[in-house]
Amino acid sequence: MKNEGEMANRPDNTAFTQQRLPAWQPVLSAGIVIPGFVLIGLAFIGIGVALFVTSQKIQVLETDYTGAEQGSPCYDCRDTSVPCVCRVNFSLSKLFEGPVFFYYGLSNYFQNYRQYGSSRDDDQLSGYTSAFTSPSETCAPYQYNSQKKPIVPCGSVANSMFNDSFKLYHVVNGQPRPVPLDGKGIAWWTDYNIKYRNPTVNGTLASAFADTVKPINWPRPAYDLDTTDPSNNGFQNQDFIVWMRRAALPNFRKLYRRITEGDYANGLPAGNYTLEITYNYPVLAFDGRKKVVFSNVSWMGGKNQFLGIAYLVIGSLCIVMSVVMLIVYAKYKFPEDEL
């Protein structure tokens, strides 16, 4: 409170109120920015080189198995109305260093489509039984089936779940030897353990899904997704969770398995391999493509040369700019000093 004295209206004489705060006043001009440009340029080139080298070391093996072209292994399986198995052979000339990540990839598949993305019920996926009986409106038209029975898991995302399955065989001496595929931990830990919960009910998991129907496209209900591992069923199914995390771009890959066990812990040795594909998922209707990808990863993720190149380009650009600046500076500053 100011006193009611003579200078009651007198403004406070502080640096702030008088706008006299100490301030740094950078004046951008050629002379000042040249060192900055040089520094940034050099640093970027350094990082760029490091990234590029790292990225070069990563091995990637991609195989398209859509079967759109005649003569490709899965050409006969295009009609997905009947179960079909096709085999893709490939060979490695040298050791594919481990741990090897096994992805399936889809192209021209718009998982980021707006209505598609919202067509799910997160409450249901968190195991709230109330959401079982009355799924969210957002799931429509995959909310109830024609008999008005609730669909669990509801929605388009779940309904369109990728259901091809793969088996990898290492052909040793002509004999196919199955490569163990690790299906654990391919989804985010938080998803598997926190976000996706199976309903807590007495009795079997199946009883929780009573009075509900499976998604229309699914061959089996949710509680029976993984026939081999009972604990990997319901919503807490790795493949399901991976699928439910929508891809950002229309060409995407999703982690299918990792090869970390047994003889293959250090990677896939050189040799011939056979990939046995259970071909269920139709993509040709929308000109989609399916592929499998084997890749190992570095500290910065999968193989991506772009970032290294970008750093290199920007770094060099900075150097070029600094040279331009130097010329500008020389032309407009130096002559006058001589005057």
């Binding site: 200078m7 009651a8 209206n9 007198r10 403004p11 109120t17 008088q18 706008q19 705060l21 301030a23 740094w24 006043q25 004046v27 951008l28 001009s29 050629a30 920015v33 940034i40 970027f44 990082i47 598949y109 718009f110 998982q111 980021n112 489509y113 707006r114 993305g117 919202s118 067509s119 997160d122 968190s126 969210s136 957002t138 429509a140 038209p141 309904n159 369109s160 938080t190 926190i194 929508r246 891809a247 950002a248 771009l249 229309p250 060409n251 995407f252 982690l255 139709p282 209707a285 929308f286 910065m300 772009f306 970032l307 970008a310 750093y311 920007i314 600046m325 407009y332 500053k333 000093d337």
Partner: protein, 1529 residues
């Protein structure tokens, strides 16, 4: 008779109606006012006054109930708000919704409520001030209680009787019916209305004039008919109808206006005529205009563009979506979702839905938070302007007030300043400076020194006077008036109590001003020489008196001196009082009737009266007088006939020889008073105008002091001679048309009837009797005249207000014949004012010049500097004043508004046609003179003006001025002076374009005698026609409408009243504060806001474009990779603070540099910071940056298993970082707050993101970003992106900015570079480069020149830095007066010289071709005027024969130049020759009309008899129909 009165008025009103076409039929009728007390019993319906507005005022916009709907309604006027609500509502439609509806609603609600709260607060303030005013007290007569009772102002009704006490503010427009003043006058101070602090006299209505008794409301039964409420302060017409059928006219002199203050009058009674909103004061208060700043208008255009961009983007996407859908045909992809009903949407329909969805998604493109941010920033700016120490005035303890919160940035874009004069430029304190008596100049050097000293210690002294105060004087008690005074002091107190603090402060300020008692004004150091002469003269006179010698033997120069001082002392209306007595108006017992009735004159010539007067005792009080004469009340309307008066006069004249009593002993009554005064100490003088007081104080310094003034007698104390009583026969008051006042007295020593006249030199010098040609006396006379005129010129050049003092001795016969006519005029009912005017003109002829005085109306501190600085900043300054022309011109010179070196065009026209001709002439004149040698280069034109005969060589091309809107318009070194009446003509539709064309080509414009409405009209005209930003500054209520009309209204607080302040957008303590307000705060506010707005557009476009690019990768489905929370809160939270801080605190150039280099202000005037192309450049940059921010992550994450929001969140982060760094590039000063805000923003984003992403695993559908950010933070790729993306995005801008700083720095850039230098060097450099900067208006006009300028500057600065600041002795010397460097050429850098040379060369070729031609054409034009210059002052009206603008010559000049410049200068048609002849005197058919608009009776003048007119023309020199005065110095 009544009809006769009525008709001219109706004729007048119909004329008004023609002028103001909007007046309705109803208004032409009159208003009838009955006394309310007659209808007290009939409560409502029967009261004839019931239809009139009551006195309650209400200026608020809302009531409690109407606030919400009305405010929302008003807010929805803003397009943006409608848009936002529309978007929010769109979200509730399921098919198209993009976000959770509730979430989408949040920003809109937030924005609406912030604005609503602000509006509510403002309205509450208005409500409080209304309430305060409505609840002020006043005394109203109550029939039931048979006395005056206290009532609130708001309870007052039309027809109420009110009793007004001294120092009370008038609650409504009141017709004065009675006054305690024996003269039946009421003094009012109209400071709050028209800004003039002098006291105005108002007269009791004629019918009640003769009333000797107390006015009794109960006996009042007349009916008043008057005109409908109107806003003309200077007009009031009507008549009062008494029960006996008699009618009396009512004039503006009878009306007391609301808002005025009663002064020097114990008590006045009146009836309310207009109340509340119908009062003239309120009608003059045009409602406030909603002001929208120029920047905001410009911004709205770009907002509109944003909407278009938005629609285009949405349309594009919608079409894209339709096509995308179409390509799938019937094959439904698995990721396509059917409608909820399971049906398939057609591509077209889904495209339409998508269009709406995208509007929601892209809504941020139209910057929702921009409007709120602007409001917040403006409030902060207002706060800082408020807090500025330099805008605080210690004397009045007042600081700057920002009353308009939304136009701070307009301060930085002002192009025209319209200023009031009195109280705004000047202190309104008159100080005697020097004088000339009988041709001898007394320079009063000591006095000048004393004044100079005061100038320095002004502040301390001001404080003293304000604390010493004069309030006790007003509340004091005199012995014989105790009862009344007690009452009054009580009422005064109660009034004070109810008033607010501001009110009290105002009262004290006012009293300070009316007192004219600051030592500076009072203590005049006499000139020793003159003092000696006065003593000498007085002693001689004493000797002569003693020896009964006739006084004619006195040497004429000595008698002139004593006459001069007597004139100074008595030729005024100054009232004497002593410090402890409010007024020294001690009345003589028998003086029942007021002065100026015929009886009175007769009485004065009868010795018996005098005797009785001397016998009367001072103890007789007014009260007893009144009660004694109470019985005479009924016979109020008797008036003696003129004949009887004259018979008496004749009788008296026959006894003329007996009049030797003139040197009569001082009446005892006076002695008592005198002794009282001497006990009390020094006398105080209360004057109608400050200069009167100044003159009286000046005379007192020479021991000629005014010691008493009675209605019929003035007492003067002279050295040696003691006290002398001058019989006051007549006072012919000051009149703006006559420009002089006279008193007719009987000189006690010489016993002659003497007329003392005091007036403007221009008129007095013409009235001086032509000196006799024969003998030496005549020669001497001529010499005196010549010398005096020369000194007057000198005074005027010094900016002093000059007054001439003259006298005239009348013989008895002359006096009698004059008196006869004068009495006729006095008694005339119709046209009385005109007749009196004529009468005065008859008297004031053949005067004998005594001397002249120079009075200084002291300018406020720093006014000339401020004006110079503002002018350098490219501001046009016009002064609009109600003052008379001479004063205004003097002040204009003093404050350097007009330059003695420059030419002045004076426009005084008496009719519309004359005005048209004048304007034509001026236009042609300017054209002829400046057409081909006008110059933008100030120095060149300076050279030119110093030497007129030399041809002006370095002149650029001619100015094409025929088109009004050609910009830039060349401003010549010309001054334009125009008076109020001419202005009225010039503002007519047909002439306004011409007027503007003339005015805008003048460097300064001075409008004198302008009414408030005219002021606002001028401002409006300039604002609308020239499309410029205007600022009006004023201090009085007469400036209110001007202040409101201007784009920026500034009030000067603490001078007079609060009305100007209330109406203003900004209130300053002093005029000089305007410099900092505009040059510094204006510049800052503008550049800050402009940059912020541009930044906002960029920011939003950049952010939205990210989503737009994504549409190409999601099938144009309206999907966003950025979480909806980030989308909505990005603007409101994450990126909001740094930009607010920057927009509030950023200083592109320091305050010191901005003030030292006013040229930088042009930055804002030309809207350099925010040009339309900048918006598009920013948009392009935004799209580029968003491309970078989108595609670097895109490629970095392509072919990976990244999910939608794990990919989108880095993009959001990158966008945020880019946007913040972008702001960093644009930030000029980095305080810790900038750093903190940026760090805070980044931290806030991450904190919110982390919390949000950890808060709920199942919520926030559809993004459901659980643990996304946490995972990203462990990803090295994320960091790598964060490094490269912002740098890549900002590289071009950074590169551009860096190059700009070196290659083509803007003036602001240079200012900033100057800032970097140490203070000493900077000062030195500035003083050196000042001239360069000053000379370069071209700096801003062309890039190349600014470039040329910057190089030597930067070079110098570098050299200075390298020299490690050698302490130059020069620099310290220069720092004090950096403006004083006078040799521009010496400081020009080499490059500049070169440029100048080439410039002038190119011009020379063109100009030399014209040289001969111009020599021919301008020779006759200039020759005569040059010869005149030696003898004539510029304030003096040139006779028409002064051949400055001989039409023939002019036309010749125009014609010949026309030949030369056929192509480049479209000239006006040649018909002017015919029109020009109209203006010659004698040819004009219009009746000469010398009266000012104040009398407003032009139609009535037609009633003047032919004879009168003849005399009129004789007396008033030559009736100049119009004069175009063009003078040189």
């Amino acid at each position: 008779m009544a009809r006769e009165i009525g008709e001219p008025r109706e004729a007048k009103s119909s004329k008004v109606k023609q002028q103001k076409k909007r007046r309705s039929k109803k208004e032409s009728k009159t208003r009838t006012v009955h006394a309310n007390i007659l209808y007290d019993h009939a409560k409502g319906d029967d009261n004839p006054n019931r239809h009139y507005a009551n006195n309650k005022i209400k200026t608020t916009k809302y009531t409690l109930l109407s606030f919400l709907p009305k405010n929302l309604f008003e807010q929805f006027h803003r397009f943006a708000n409608v848009y936002f609500v529309f978007i929010a509502l769109l979200n509730f439609v399921p098919v198209v919704n993009a976000f959770q509806p509730e979430l989408a609603l949040a920003p809109v609600v937030f924005i609406l409520s912030v604005t609503a709260i602000k509006d509510l607060w403002e309205d509450y303030r208005r409500h409080r001030s209304d309430k305060e005013i409505n609840h002020m007290d006043c005394l109203v007569y109550s029939r039931t209680e048979r006395r005056y009772v206290e009532k609130y102002w708001k309870e007052l009704r039309v027809g109420d009787f009110v009793r007004l006490r001294c120092n009370e503010i008038l609650p409504a427009d009141v017709l004065l019916l009675s006054s305690s003043d024996p003269d039946r006058l009421c003094h009012i101070e109209t400071a709050t209305l028209d800004g003039e602090t002098n006291l105005k006299q108002r007269q009791v209505v004629r019918s009640f004039l003769d009333l000797d008794c107390e006015f009794d409301p109960c006996k009042y039964n007349s009916v008043i008919e008057c005109e409908k409420p109107n806003n003309d302060l200077n007009r009031f017409r009507g008549y009062i109808i008494h029960r006996n059928g008699r009618r009396d006219g009512l004039y503006k002199d009878n009306l007391l206006l609301r808002g005025c203050t009663v002064r020097n009058t114990e008590e006045a009674l009146g009836i309310v005529i207009y109340a509340g909103h119908e009062t003239k004061a309120m009608l003059n208060n045009n409602g406030p205009r909603y002001k929208r700043s120029k920047l905001e208008r410009q911004m709205n255009v770009d907002v509109f563009w944003c909407v278009i961009i938005l629609l285009v983007m949405c349309l594009f996407c919608a079409i894209g979506h339709g096509l995308w859908m179409y390509q799938y045909g019937d094959k439904r992809p698995v990721f396509d979702v059917l409608s909820p009903e399971g049906t398939d949407l057609s591509p077209a329909l889904s495209a339409i839905y998508l269009f709406l969805t995208l509007i929601i998604v892209f809504q941020v493109l139209v910057p929702i938070s921009l409007f709120v941010s602007i409001e917040i920033v403006k409030i902060c700016q207002v706060y800082f302007i408020h807090q500025d120490m330099e805008l605080y005035d210690e004397e009045t303890d007042s600081q700057l007030q920002c009353r308009a919160l939304n136009i701070t940035e307009d301060l930085g874009q002002v192009q025209y300043i319209f200023s009031d004069k009195t109280g705004t430029l000047t202190e309104n304190k008159m100080v005697f400076r020097r004088c000339t008596v009988a041709g001898v100049e007394y320079s009063h050097d000591a006095n000048a020194r004393r004044l100079a000293m005061y100038q320095e210690m002004d502040s301390e002294e001001e404080e003293c006077t304000s604390h010493g105060g004069t309030l006790p004087r007003r509340d004091s008690v005199t012995s014989h008036q105790s009862a009344k005074v007690v009452l009054r002091s009580q009422s005064t107190k109660s009034h004070r109590r109810t008033g607010s603090r501001a009110e009290a402060k105002r009262a004290s300020i006012l009293s300070k001003h009316t007192a004219f008692s600051s030592p500076m004004e009072k203590d005049i150091t006499p000139d020793p020489e003159l003092l000696e002469k006065v003593n000498d003269c007085a002693s001689q006179m004493e000797f002569m008196r003693f020896h009964s010698q006739p006084f004619s033997h006195l040497p004429s120069d000595l008698s002139d001196i004593i006459d001069f001082f007597i004139a100074l002392t008595i030729c005024n209306t100054v009232v004497v009082s002593s410090p402890n007595q409010p007024r020294q108006k001690v009345r003589r017992f028998e003086l029942k009737s007021p002065v100026k009735t015929i009886e009175d004159f007769i009485k004065r010539f009868t010795p018996s009266r005098l005797t009785s007067g001397s016998n009367s005792s001072s103890s007789s009080s007014l009260v007893t007088t009144r009660s004694a004469s109470h019985k005479a009340c009924s016979s109020i309307l008797s008036s003696p006939s003129a004949e009887s008066t004259l018979t008496k006069l004749d009788e008296e004249r026959s006894r003329g020889g007996t009049l030797d009593h003139a040197f009569s002993p001082v009446p005892p009554s006076y002695d008592e008073t005198k002794s009282l005064i001497q006990e009390e100490g020094e006398l105080r003088y209360e004057a109608e105008s400050p200069d009167e007081a100044a003159l009286v104080y000046a005379a007192r310094a020479y021991k000629c002091s005014l010691v008493g003034r009675l209605p019929d007698q003035v007492t003067v104390e002279l050295p040696h001679l003691g006290k002398l009583n001058f019989e006051l026969l007549h006072t012919l008051g000051f009149d703006s048309t006559r420009k002089r006042m006279s008193v007719v007295v009987k000189h006690p020593l010489t016993d002659q009837i003497t007329v003392y006249t005091k007036g403007a030199d221009s008129v007095i010098m013409d009235l001086i009797s032509p000196p006799a040609t024969d003998h030496s006396k005549g020669k001497r006379q001529r010499k005196i005249l010549f010398k005096t005129q020369n000194y007057l010129n000198v005074y005027a050049a010094d900016g002093l207000r000059t007054l001439c003092i003259a006298k005239k001795v009348l013989s008895k016969e002359e006096y009698a014949s004059w008196l006869r006519r004068h009495l006729e005029a006095e008694t005339a009912i119709q046209g009385r004012e005109e007749l009196l005017f004529e009468s005065a003109l008859r008297l004031e002829t053949n005067l004998h010049l005594l001397g002249a005085t120079g009075i200084e109306d002291r300018l406020q501190d720093g006014v000339p500097e401020t004006i110079a600085s503002l002018r350098k900043a490219g501001l046009q300054i016009w002064v609009l004043t109600g003052d008379k022309q001479e004063t205004a011109i003097n002040i204009a010179y003093a404050c350097k508004l007009l330059d003695p070196e420059e030419e002045i065009i004076t426009l005084n026209a008496e009719s519309q046609e004359a005005c048209a001709v004048l304007l034509e002439e001026s236009l042609h004149y300017i054209q002829a003179k400046f057409l081909c040698n006008a110059s933008t280069d100030q120095h060149a034109s300076r050279v030119y003006h110093q030497d007129y005969s030399a041809l002006h060589v370095p002149a650029p091309a001619c100015s094409p001025y025929a088109s009004l809107h050609t910009v830039p318009f060349l401003v010549h070194r010309l001054g334009l002076v125009i008076d109020g009446r001419t202005l009225a003509y010039a503002l007519e539709k047909s002439l306004e374009d011409k007027f503007l064309a003339v005015a805008r080509s003048c460097r300064s414009v001075l409008c004198c005698r302008s009414t408030p409405l005219q002021k606002s009209k001028v401002v409006k005209l300039v604002r609308n026609k020239l499309k410029v930003m205007t600022l009006a500054i004023g201090d009085g209520a007469n400036d209110v409408s001007m202040i409101q009309v201007a784009d920026v209204g500034v009030g000067i607080s603490g001078q007079e009243g609060m009305q100007a302040v209330m109406a203003s957008d900004f209130a300053l303590p002093r005029f000089r504060n305007l410099q900092k307000l505009l040059l510094v705060h204006g510049h800052w506010c503008y550049s800050r806001l402009a940059n912020m707005i541009l930044y906002f557009f960029y920011k939003n476009a950049m952010f939205v474009a990210l989503i737009f690019w994504y549409q190409f990768y999601c099938g144009f489905s309206g999907s966003a990779m950025i979480d909806q929370w980030y989308l909505i809160f990005f603007n409101l939270m994450f990126s909001a603070f740094p930009q607010l801080i920057t927009a509030t605190l950023d200083k592109d150039v320091s305050a010191a540099t901005l003030q030292d280099l006013p040229q930088l202000y042009m930055n804002g005037q030309n809207s350099e910071e925010y040009k339309p192309y900048m918006f598009w450049m920013n948009m392009i940059d935004a799209f580029y940056q968003s491309l970078v921010c989108f595609f670097i992550p895109y490629f970095a994450y392509s072919d990976s298993d990244v999910d939608l929001f794990t990919w989108g969140t880095p993009i959001t982060t990158l966008a945020l970082l880019t946007i913040l760094l972008h702001l960093g590039i644009e930030t000029k000063t980095w305080t810790w707050m900038n750093w903190a805000s940026i760090v805070f923003s980044v931290c806030l984003f991450f904190t919110v993101a982390l919390c949000y992403n950890a808060s709920c695993p199942t919520c926030y559908s559809p993004s459901n970003p659980y643990w996304t950010m946490q995972r990203l933070l462990t990803d090295p790729l994320f960091y790598l992106l964060c490094v490269i993306t912002p740098i890549t995005a900002l590289l071009p801008r950074y590169f551009y900015r860096a190059c700009q700083g070196t290659l083509f720095p803007s003036p602001v850039h240079i200012g900033r570079q100057l800032d970097k230098l140490p203070t000493e060097i900077r000062r030195h450099l500035l003083s050196q480069t000042r001239v360069k900067l000053g000379s370069l208006g071209a700096l801003f006009a062309s890039r190349s020149s600014s470039f040329a300028f910057s190089r030597p500057l930067t070079k110098q600065s570098q050299r200075q830095e390298k020299a490690v600041a050698p302490p130059q002795p020069k620099s310290t010397e220069v720092t004090d007066t950096p403006r004083s460097s006078k040799h521009p050429e010496n400081h020009l850098g080499p490059s500049q010289k070169k440029e100048k040379r080439s410039h002038s060369q190119s011009q020379r070729s063109r100009v030399s071709a014209l040289t001969d031609l111009l020599d021919n054409t301008q020779g006759p034009l200039r020759g005569p005027s040059l010869t005149d210059t030696d003898t004539l002052p510029y304030t003096r009206e040139l006779p028409r024969t002064g051949p400055v603008l001989e039409p023939a010559t002019l036309t010749a000049a125009v014609e010949s130049s026309d030949h030369a410049w056929v192509t480049s200068t479209p000239l006006l048609p040649q018909t002017e020759c015919i029109q020009l002849t109209l203006s010659r005197p004698g040819v004009s058919p219009v009746i000469p009309n010398e009266r000012s608009s104040e009398s407003g009776l032009s139609s009535d003048q037609r009633f003047l008899s032919q004879e009168d007119r003849m005399e009129h023309t004789q007396t008033s020199d030559c009736p100049k129909e119009n004069t175009l005065k063009t003078t040189f110095l």
